[in-house]
Amino acid sequence: MAACTIKPEASPQFKKLCERWKRSGYRHIDKDLAAAFTAIQQDILACGAFRLQAGSRVEVYKYRQNSKDVKRGSSYGWRILALYHKPTGCMYPIIVYPKTVWSDVDEALVASAIIEIRQILGYCISPGCDGEMATSDPPERKEQGAAIQVKMQCVKCGAIQWATA
C-alpha cells in the first residue's frame, strides 16, 4: 500500500474542469473529490485505481469516486485522471469528468468526450493538433440560443472554433 501527496491545485486544467462541472450543476464536486483524495493519499490504489499509462518516472492513474449529485454507485460518479510523479511521490489530478456522460461506452463515445474536454480546456480539437486556442483577432462573438459564443483560433494550425463564453 503506497501513500502519496496529492496536489489538486497544481494543474490549471483540473481547476478549470472542476469549475466547469460545478457550474453544470455538480454542486458537491469539492466534497466528492476531497473524499477521493483522502483515500488515494493513503493508498494510490484506492478508489478503483487503474493505471492507464506506465513510465519510469511518471504514470497516469484513473480513479472512480461516488458523486453526491448522481445517486448511484461509484461506477456512475466521477472519473479522475491523475499524474503520479514517482521520484517525489506526488499525485497531480489533471482531468475530472462525470461518468453519466459515458453511460454507454464505446471508443467513439470516449473519443467525443475527450474532444469535449479538450475544447473546455481551450485546446485545439483538430485531429493531430496539440495547439492551444486563442481569441481570434479581431475578437468576434455570436449568440447561440441563450449562450454567447466566442470565435477562437488555434495558435498552431490556425483552425477556427466557436467556444461558449
Binding site: 494543474s11 492507464l52 489533471i94 482531468i95
Partner: protein, 159 residues
C-alpha cells in the same frame, strides 16, 4: 356411490381448475425468469471475475484478430446489458413483489457497470487524443509525459 352433481357445480370446478392452470403457467414463467436471470448473472460473474487489470492492459493494445474480436464482443455485450439494465422491464422487475427477482436484476445491473468500467478502460488506454491531452497537462506541470502506454496494471481495489 353415484354423485349427484349439477352443471353449475361442474362449471365451478372447471373454473377452479382453470384458475390453478393459469397460476401454474404464471409460476412457470416466474421460475423461468429466475432461471434466466441467474444464468445471465452467473455468466457475467464468471466473465468479469476472469478479466484482471493486467488482461485489460494487454487487450487494449492487442491488434491480433482475436484481440480485436474480443474488444468488439465486450463492447457489444455492454451495449446489450445497458439496454436491459436501463429498460422499463428491468425497472418493473426491480420492484417485483415476489422475492429473488429484484436481487438478480440488481446483480446484473451491477455487473453491467463493472463491464462498462472495463470497456471504458480499454477505450481510454487506446485513445491518442487522451495521450495528447495528458502530455499537455504534464507539460503545464513541468513533468515529462509518461513514455510507456502499455503499462502493467495494478489490482483494482474498491473505493
Amino acid at each position: 356411490m353415484t354423485a349427484t352433481i349439477t352443471i353449475n357445480e361442474i362449471e365451478q370446478r372447471a373454473d377452479r381448475a382453470f384458475a390453478y392452470a393459469l397460476l401454474a403457467r404464471s409460476a412457470k414463467s416466474y421460475v423461468m425468469c429466475i432461471y434466466r436471470l441467474r444464468e445471465v448473472g452467473n455468466a457475467l460473474d464468471t466473465l468479469i471475475g476472469a478479466i484482471r487489470p493486467e488482461h485489460v492492459a494487454r487487450l487494449a493494445h492487442d491488434e491480433s484478430d482475436s484481440g480485436v474480436r474480443l474488444r468488439s464482443r465486450l463492447t457489444e455485450l455492454h451495449h446489450l446489458l445497458v439496454e436491459f439494465a436501463g429498460s422499463e422491464e428491468a425497472a418493473k422487475l426491480n420492484d417485483f413483489p415476489l422475492p429473488i427477482i429484484p436481487g438478480l436484476v440488481q446483480s446484473i445491473q451491477d455487473r453491467t457497470e463493472d463491464l462498462g468500467d472495463i470497456v471504458e478502460n480499454l477505450a481510454l488506454s487506446r485513445s491518442d487524443d487522451l495521450r495528447n491531452l495528458v502530455s499537455c497537462c504534464a507539460a503545464s506541470l513541468n513533468l515529462e509525459a509518461p513514455e510507456d502506454l502499455v503499462g502493467g496494471m495494478h489490482d483494482q481495489t474498491g473505493s
